[in-house]
């Protein structure tokens, strides 16, 4: 190899005269930043690039090592699968020049970092940049807009030579709003009130929206939207499907959060670090900690025998749901390799892994391998303290009981000789016996009292709390060691050993696992959030997992994604399609926003207004864009069939929950109860042995669960793999997946369900009774108002009248008519 000085002169000269011309002529076409398509991710136009190689991950040029350099292997044409340049072998002189050059130490003056076009694109991706305020777009039809939303939408439509639809009529509006906000159709009374409101439509509609936002049904429906995203399920799924008895408390926490209009940033913080937020009372603390179940309500492979792999899989699920739900990022792609499209390096992934691995998952689910997940969070003023108290009180009671047994024994020793002699010892005791008996009696009272003083078992919740700090961990390890010895001794003595105390994770950084393999740990990565937004999470103390810092980082106003992703979710639920269509992926592979400035403006205003969901919903619903009719327009449909530009309110299909609940609403049999339990907890309580809480095991779950209940669908048991039939048929979100946008299908099994199920036929009979309460001539309208919140038109009236005439005006006929209305497309469409 050349000396440093010579390198600069001779070497560079050699490179410039013999190497660069060949590269430029034969290689740059496919292997430079200027290439239209870079092949094999290999860039030859910098020193950095030519050396590090491409997808093969082998060093292409190793200075001084001719044989080891893959570039040489390629140009020599000896390996059939690697021959470069592909169009023809270089001349012998050229090849020898390359060999010589590498032997010299591959001198190369071309500085700079080699970056692939896709890497550059990823860095410039719109979503990583903070939302910008924009000026109100100017529109020709200045009278139309009622909100900045409308200016943005109209300006875009006008630029495409399109214009918005007419306003929707009041019946359509109230049905649309009621279904979207509560998941139920409007009552006949509510429709009449709205129709009779003398105020202008927008003002009157504002009152309707306010009323609906205050309705408990809002949390039921919008809570369910979030539960889809949070992959909420009441069992572990996967191969050993164990019940999660306390998952429902998270479900209710979500519903309540929407009803209370909890600011979204707080909603996020509580789900990631609710246990670490300041609180003024235990009730407040409890409310916050319930949110953390978000992290542990996902699916788990409970019979994974390798603890590390199991823990890594849990952390993976937590990273996935956190990044997808709040940031619409697919960060878990970086588990095995740097993210292929988004700037998320593997290091970032393991920085987050450390955070979650430093936390304790209290899933409250008995398992056969991973006992630590049997732990749950005890509710009540004392928190974990209650468990200590119970333990102490039990120990005390045991002690008193043992003392009692001693006294009994002593008494018996004095008593038995008398009994043998046939003396009635109670009537004629010896003085010693009398005294002993008195002691027994006294102690019996003490036993009763101490037993009575054992606090009852607390209620439990699913939660995530901090792992052990170094000191705690040391003490805990020591305890585990003695416990292990105890257990070993018990085993030796052939006694049934107690269940070992579950292992608890220490707070510590995670290594980077090469290629995602749990047996290839590399360097430790300091705990932290992702790096792609240009600001970092706050410093994480050695005794902190980092969840609090992660939560702060996500809800920081500098985070370009959090508010955008959420307002887009809200937009999606209201219009059936987001401004960004891929609601769970804002990365490079996601879709572009249809109205980028509008999205930014909504996000900025949302943060400014205190992250209030209800204000955001109200604002969008009172826009003229939302209040448009869904009327079809041949010309615009041809241009924009999905109404991505919002030239109309595009009709949407209802989800299974809303269909089921609407059927019960129409029949008048919907139970309005806000359930504060779940069948899953009830069923698992019946199981004397926690280890048997497996779905399918001994058949009990399926035997004990009742599907035929009349409350809102959100309260039905949602165990993984066994979800309510009706909801499965209508495309319920798979609780194993993060689902921001359900893919609703139209398949015959749905038609079969509506046409033949005992549920629909039965409820239709009840609906018929309600319809028949109206005078005969009003029944058709009564049925239409009930099912569709509108009156029948002439054709429909004639069709139904004909049916009644031929089938007879009896209850059976009306049952069949009501069922027909329920089966219809209109019933499950929001117009």
């Amino acid at each position: 190899m050349l000396s440093a000085g010579a390198w600069a002169n001779e070497g560079v000269e050699f490179f410039e005269s013999r190497i660069r011309p060949v590269l430029a002529a034969k290689c740059y076409n496919c292997h430079s930043t200027k290439a239209t398509k870079v092949k094999g991710d290999y860039l030859l136009d910098t020193r950095d690039g030519i050396r590090k190689g491409g997808v093969s991950k082998r060093d292409a040029v190793i200075p001084g090592d001719v044989e080891g350099s893959q570039l040489i292997e390629a140009i020599r044409y000896r390996n059939e699968e690697l021959q470069m340049p592909p169009k023809g072998k270089l001349s012998a002189a050229e090849i020898s020049a390359f060999e010589q050059w590498i032997a010299m130490g591959a001198p190369d003056p071309r500085d700079g970092v080699s970056r692939l076009p896709r890497e550059i694109a990823a860095e410039n991706h719109w979503a990583w940049k903070r939302p910008k305020p924009s000026e109100l777009p100017r529109v020709k039809n200045a009278k139309w807009p009622k909100d900045a939303i409308d200016n943005h939408v109209l300006a875009r439509l006008e630029s495409e030579g399109m214009y918005p639809n007419r306003d929707a009529d009041r019946r359509t509006l109230i049905r649309r709003a009621t279904l979207e906000l509560t998941g139920l159709p409007p009552s006949v009374k509510a429709v009449a009130e709205f129709l009779g409101d003398p105020d202008p439509t927008r003002k009157a509609f504002g009152r309707v929206v306010d009323r609906l936002l205050a309705d408990q049904g809002f949390g039921v429906r919008w809570g369910r939207h979030w539960l889809d995203v949070a992959r909420y399920g009441e069992s572990s799924g996967y191969s050993r499907n164990m019940l999660y008895p306390y998952a429902w408390r998270y479900r209710n926490w979500v519903i309540d959060s929407f009803n209370d209009d909890k600011p979204y940033d707080q909603f996020v913080r509580e789900q990631i670090a609710g246990d670490l937020l300041p609180s003024n009372s235990y009730e407040e603390k409890e409310k916050q900690i319930l949110g953390t179940a978000f992290l542990t309500v996902g699916a788990k492979t409970f019979n994974e025998g390798q603890r590390l792999l199991f823990d890594l899989n849990c952390a993976d699920d937590q990273i996935d749901v956190t990044c997808r739900a709040f940031l619409a990022l697919t960060a878990n792609c970086a588990r095995c390799h740097d993210h292929k499209y988004d700037p998320i390096p593997t290091r970032d992934y393991y920085a987050m892994t450390g955070i979650f691995m430093s936390s304790r998952n209290l899933a409250g689910s008995e398992t056969n391998v991973r006992d630590e997940h049997a732990e749950a969070y005890p509710l009540g003023p004392e928190g974990f303290g209650i468990l200590e108290k119970i333990k102490e009180a039990k120990a005390k009671a045991d002690k008193e009981q043992a003392f009692y047994m001693d006294l009994v024994k002593k008494r018996n020793e004095l008593r038995d000789p008398l009994v043998k002699k046939g003396i009635d010892w109670k009537k004629n005791p010896t003085p010693e016996l009398k005294e002993a008996e008195a002691k027994v009696q006294a102690q019996q009272a003490v036993v009763k009292e101490t037993k009575g003083a054992i606090p009852g078992p607390p209620n439990y919740a699913m939660a995530v709390v901090e792992g052990l700090d170094a000191k705690e961990f040391e003490a805990f390890e020591a305890f585990l060691k003695t416990e292990k010895e105890e257990i070993a001794e018990m085993k030796k003595a052939k006694k049934r050993p107690k269940n070992p105390t579950p292992e608890r994770p220490p707070i510590k950084d995670s290594p980077l696992f090469d290629k995602g393999l749990h047996d290839s740990p590399k360097d430790l990565v300091p705990r932290g959030a992702l790096s792609l937004f240009g600001y970092r999470s706050q410093t994480i103390g050695t005794n902190e997992s980092g969840r609090l810092q992660l939560a702060e980082w996500i809800t920081d106003e500098r985070n370009p994604m959090t508010a955008r992703v959420y307002v887009n979710r809200v937009w999606h639920h209201l219009f059936g399609r987001g401004l960004v269509e891929t609601v769970d992926n804002f990365g490079v592979l996601g879709s572009q926003p249809s109205h980028p400035e509008l999205l930014d403006q909504l996000a900025l205003d949302f943060m400014k207004q205190g992250w209030s969901t209800k204000k955001l919903v109200r604002r969008i619903m009172l826009s003229r864009t939302y209040m448009q009719s869904s009327a079809h327009c041949e010309e615009f449909a041809a241009k924009d069939p999905d109404a991505a530009l919002r030239w109309r309110f595009a009709p949407q299909l209802l989800e299974g929950e809303a269909i089921r609940d609407s059927v019960l609403f129409v029949s008048g049999r919907l139970d309005p109860v806000h359930m504060t339990t779940s069948q899953v907890e009830e069923i698992s309580k019946q199981q004397a042995l926690g280890r048997q809480r497996e779905i399918g095991r001994r058949d009990y779950y399926m035997k004990d669960v009742t599907w035929d209940v009349k409350h809102r669908s959100v309260y039905l048991p949602m165990t993984r793999g066994v979800i309510p039939d009706m909801l499965a048929i209508f495309d319920a979100a798979d609780p194993n997946l993060v689902v921001g946008a359900r893919k609703l299908t139209i398949v015959p099994t749905q038609a079969l369900y509506l046409a033949n199920s005992a549920m629909v036929i039965g409820e239709s009979k009840h609906a018929a009774k309600r319809v028949m309460a109206a005078p005969a001539e009003d029944r058709i309208d009564a049925a239409y108002e009930l099912a569709y919140a509108r009156l029948a038109n002439e054709t429909e009236r004639a069709t139904l009248q004909k049916f009644v005439n031929s089938a007879g005006a009896n209850e059976k006929t009306w049952s069949r008519i009501c069922q027909t209305l329920i089966c219809s497309g209109e019933f499950r469409t929001i117009y």
Partner: protein, 465 residues
């Protein structure tokens, strides 16, 4: 959907349509307009290349049958018989005798004499291996490709890739599945359109081998029978419904979803007539029932499952998964294996015979496999434990090379050593036989393209006829 869809044409077509409007015609219209994928993922699709089979019958032997006691004859094991391995474990020869069958001379144990008769049609893979020797994971991996993540089942991928030929029937049936070890995931669609999920027939809730699954006899698929109204009444009601729907459609001007709903009712009405018919095996002639061992003990249940599969495939169902088990004899394998073989051997042979007789054999791929195998070792309970490193599967029918014994385990039948076939390779090969390239059959979800075989899988061309 960037071009203007022929809205008027389609709408008027529907308005003209009476109840008998053919689903095929509508399917055609919907496909032309690009609406098909959005509204009905089951419409038939073109494969990537010419397929060798059109449908699959997957005979899943839950629990893992022992290879050295079925299709992997190991004379060396006899020599090492009773060689002590400590802890009560010892090499143990198969307690069942092997006989050579067919022109190919395939050795088959006396547990499977009926299957043996079709030796020249079997493409036996002795060198199967999988990743994990634990039932729940291995079962889920065999049926979905992944034990770690929630992924669509093989049947769902197949239906997603090819659609199905009879719109009056589900594209994918799973018979006698259970809730344990992944539950509905074993025939679930994960992120694929929900219509590609398997329709469960007689699924049951016991992961415990002590629970006897309910009998297939008299089973009916939920919601396919209206117990309240006569067929005439239902037809009247359907006419009323469709007239209201069409009226609404006229008001809407155009509404692809509503058109899809109208279509779904017509299909459903036919499906409710056709599906019970497919499941009603009792209408088959006595001779056929006998061939499957139906109405006889102990073959009745699996016989019905096999005959249902044939009837389904004949009617255009794409994928049928049959489950029988639990072949998990850690204890007394000499009681457990014969009992299960007696239940399944005759029906499986009957299925082959029947498919041949009806000219369906060449269009149907049959796959017989467990989730893993068992070692050539007896434990102290005279049973065999789990073995992920070597097991046997066999293929028959469309595309599979009959009379072939492919790959090798070591001389004792423990580990797969030569021409190893991983379950990803089996999946890749199955898709290949159906005309699908496992690397091109992808679905974009959560920002990346997924496939059945993930980043693995190689088509084993040597297995193809």
């Amino acid at each position: 959907m960037n071009e203007a869809p022929p809205l008027v044409t389609r709408r008027s077509a529907l308005q003209q349509a009476t109840c008998g409007f053919g689903s095929v015609a509508l399917a055609g219209l919907m496909q032309q307009s690009g609406l098909a994928a959005a509204s009905n993922p089951l419409l038939p699709k073109q494969p990537h290349f010419v397929p060798r089979a059109k449908s699959v019958i997957f005979l899943f032997m839950r629990g893992g049958p022992s290879q050295v006691d079925s299709f992997d004859y190991k004379p060396e094991l006899t020599k090492r018989h009773e060689e002590n391995l400590g802890g009560g474990r010892r090499y143990y020869q198969s307690p069942w005798e092997f006989t050579q069958y067919g022109q190919c001379g395939l050795p088959v144990s006396s547990l499977f004499p009926h299957t043996g008769r079709y030796a020249d049609d079997l493409c036996v893979i002795n060198s199967m291996h999988t990743d994990i020797g634990n039932h729940p994971q291995a079962i889920v991996q065999m049926l979905t490709g992944s034990f770690q993540f929630v992924r669509p089942s093989v049947g769902s991928w197949t239906v997603y890739g090819l659609g199905t030929e009879n719109q009056n029937l589900p594209g994918f049936l799973s018979i006698n599945s259970d809730f344990s070890a992944g539950g509905a995931r074993k025939y679930g669609c994960a992120f694929l359109p929900s219509a590609t999920a398997g329709t469960a027939i007689n699924s049951w809730g016991g992961g415990d081998s002590k629970i006897i699954p309910p009998a297939l006899k008299d089973f009916e698929i939920p919601h396919t029978k209206n117990k309240t109204y006569t067929r005439m009444e239902q037809r009247e009601q359907l006419d009323l419904l469709q007239s209201l729907n069409r009226n609404r459609l006229a008001q809407d001007g155009a509404n692809p979803a509503l058109e899809g709903i109208i279509h779904s009712y017509e299909t459903a009405f036919r499906m409710q007539a056709d599906l019970p018919d497919v499941l009603n095996v009792d209408q088959e002639p006595e001779r056929v029932l006998k061939r499957y061992g139906i109405n006889e003990d102990p073959t009745d249940d699996f016989g019905r499952a096999c005959l249902t599969a044939r009837r389904a495939v004949e009617a255009g169902v794409r994928y049928v998964q049959l489950n029988i088990g639990f072949w998990d004899q850690h204890t007394k394998i000499e009681e457990g294996h014969p009992a299960l073989a007696a239940k399944s051997d005759l029906p499986v042979a009957g299925l082959i015979a029947d498919l041949k007789e009806r000219g369906l054999f060449d269009d149907t791929l049959i796959v017989w496999t467990g989730e893993f195998g068992r070692p050539p070792i007896y434990n102290k309970n005279n049973g065999r434990d789990h073995n992920a490193e070597g097991f046997t599967a066999w293929l028959a029918g469309g595309g599979a090379k009959g009379g072939l014994r492919y790959g090798l385990t070591d001389e004792l039948g423990y580990k797969s050593v030569e021409k190893k076939v991983h379950l990803h390779d089996l999946h890749a090969t199955m898709l290949h036989i159906l005309g699908l390239d496992h690397e091109r059959l992808t679905y974009r979800y959560g920002g990346r393209d997924f496939r059945l075989t993930d980043v693995h899988g190689k088509v084993v061309h040597d297995l193809l006829a």
